[in-house]
């Protein structure tokens, strides 16, 4: 039964949240505007579940983005869901042992929070309250309204701050061309991880996905890195490709007939190339010696696996020209 309707221009959602909380109401607060709609379910005055069409990312896709399931696993689950439409994606993923119930709950709660924080920012549209309408979801938040509103206010303020430096999620972040004044900078591990991902190719959205953090969390960290001068936002969204770069002629790279320098002599550099020098032939004894059985430790097992041909020849030549000037 609809017990309340109105305009968000007159009553802000935080006010309605407080009203629902004050009267310990159970029901659905439905909001709508031109660009989307949303629902917040309350259970005895606490927020239980929420959905926003603007932030909605299907649970399965969110798990794929976080690399917790593969696209193939999701596709198979969705195919199965077509045969059993009453079963939810999350339940099928748990039933098949692809994700744990705990992990699923964590993701659902994050999804709910994101929806609520999005809805609380709406300043236009209409709302209605349907008393005693419940979500029917097994996983809920059960978070007090005041905590949510405070957290939302904090997020909104932080987003405003972040937008001053990161106007949208589709901009590309890169290492700042002008280094900060300080030569040595200490940063936290999570900052380091995002710094590494900000390679001048990925957008902020892609950096967030690759870091397996929420966009808000990732933006906060990137904002800090931009503020300290380590990162900057590339103008526009164009990405350089190696083919765009002016490449020095190959002969320019060998003007000093330098091949590969191997010996460091501070006064008079003398280069001996291991690529052209023939190493001493192994003695018969050496030739018979077996490769030692190195212990594969967990420290390095399966570590860095550079992709084949990931740096093209044109970029290599450009790098050689640049490094020689260092």
């Amino acid at each position: 039964m609809t017990v309340l309707t109105g305009s968000l221009g007159v009553f802000g959602l935080p006010d309605i949240f407080r009203l629902m909380s004050h009267y310990n109401m159970t029901g659905a607060l439905k909001v709508a505007r031109e660009s989307g709609e949303g629902v917040v379910y309350f259970r005895e005055g606490s927020v239980d579940f929420a959905f926003s069409s603007l932030t909605r990312e299907f649970l399965g896709q969110r798990l794929v983005t976080a690399k917790l399931i593969t696209q193939g696993q999701l596709r198979r689950i969705l195919d199965e869901q077509k045969k059993s439409p009453t079963k939810r994606t999350g339940d099928l993923l748990v039933d098949k042992g692809i994700v744990s119930a705990e992990l699923l709950n964590t993701f659902i709660k994050e999804q709910i929070q994101d929806a609520i924080f999005d809805l609380l920012q709406w300043e236009t549209g209409t709302f209605s309250v349907e008393e005693n309408e419940v979500s029917g979801q097994e996983v809920g938040l059960s978070v007090s309204v005041e905590n949510l509103i405070m957290e939302s206010s904090r997020r909104i303020e932080e987003w405003e701050l972040i937008r001053r430096r990161i106007p949208n999620l589709d901009v590309v972040v890169r290492m700042a061309p002008t280094p900060p004044a300080s030569m040595e900078i200490n940063i936290k591990p999570e900052e380091w991880a995002l710094l590494v991902l900000s390679d001048g190719q990925r957008t902020v959205r892609e950096v967030a996905a690759a870091s397996e953090r929420s966009e808000f969390e990732a933006c906060k960290i990137i904002y800090g890195l931009v503020s300290t001068g380590l990162l900057d936002v590339a103008s526009g969204q164009a990405r350089h490709t190696p083919q765009d770069l002016e490449v020095p002629a190959i002969e320019d790279l060998f003007v000093d007939e330098v091949t590969v320098p191997t010996v460091f002599e501070p006064e008079e550099p003398e280069f001996v190339s291991p690529l052209v020098a023939t190493p001493p032939a192994p003695t018969p004894q050496q030739a018979e010696e077996k490769e030692p059985d190195f212990v594969e430790t967990s420290e390095f097992a399966g570590a860095v696996q550079p992709s084949e041909g990931s740096v093209d020849k044109a970029t290599l030549m450009r790098l050689i020209a640049g490094v020689r000037k260092l």
């Binding site: 936290k188 320098p261 501070p266 190339s273 023939t278 490769e291 990931s310 050689i320």
Partner: protein, 176 residues
């Protein structure tokens, strides 16, 4: 801005931090132990470092020196635009070669990754003997450059990067 990644690998005390401070425009250190939480086997106090070398207006070389305990977690990050690795060896200690061998095993298993050996803290009086000794003890293929460096000397570090670049270029030429 194109960004190329270089891995600077080496055991603790091999001179990685000095290397970065000498060659890079900006050095970033991450010393919080929280980063090793994902790998309980990582040594306490593990740290990761990063240095950026600006090549020109459009190309940047990023030199990453993750501590051994976090190398695995860096796999996906470093794989993109990866040029190769400089393996820094502390020539002054026996352990330096042992540590280098473990790293080499990793790189030998991935033959597509160019790498060079940079011998730090070496005895510069007989460079040829130093290189020969290193080649023998590390059982290096003839195509793997061995560079004598001083982590405090920019010129020698530049040479190690050049060696890596030429190795990568040769690989590009031969399609390997």
């Amino acid at each position: 801005m194109a960004c190329v990644n270089v891995l600077l690998a080496g055991a603790e005390g091999s001179g990685k931090t000095t290397f970065l401070k000498t060659i890079a425009d900006v050095v970033v250190l991450s010393t919080d132990n929280g980063i090793v939480d994902t790998d309980p086997k990582a040594p306490a106090g593990a740290y990761s470092e990063f240095g950026r070398v600006r090549i020109d207006e459009a190309v940047t070389m990023s030199v990453y020196s993750p501590s051994p305990g976090v190398l695995d977690s860096m796999r996906n990050v470093l794989a993109g635009n990866m040029l190769g690795a400089v393996i820094l060896v502390d020539r002054s200690s026996e352990e330096g070669f042992d540590d280098a061998q473990r790293l080499l095993k990793m790189f030998r298993a991935r033959r597509k990754a160019p790498f060079v050996i940079a011998l730090n803290k070496h005895n510069a009086s007989d460079p040829a003997a130093e290189i020969a000794e290193a080649r023998k003890r590390l059982r290096l293929d003839e195509g793997v450059p061995v560079i004598l460096v001083s982590a405090l000397d920019r010129g020698s570090l530049r040479n190690s990067l050049l060696a890596l670049l030429f190795t990568a270029l040769e690989g590009a030429d031969t399609g390997g």
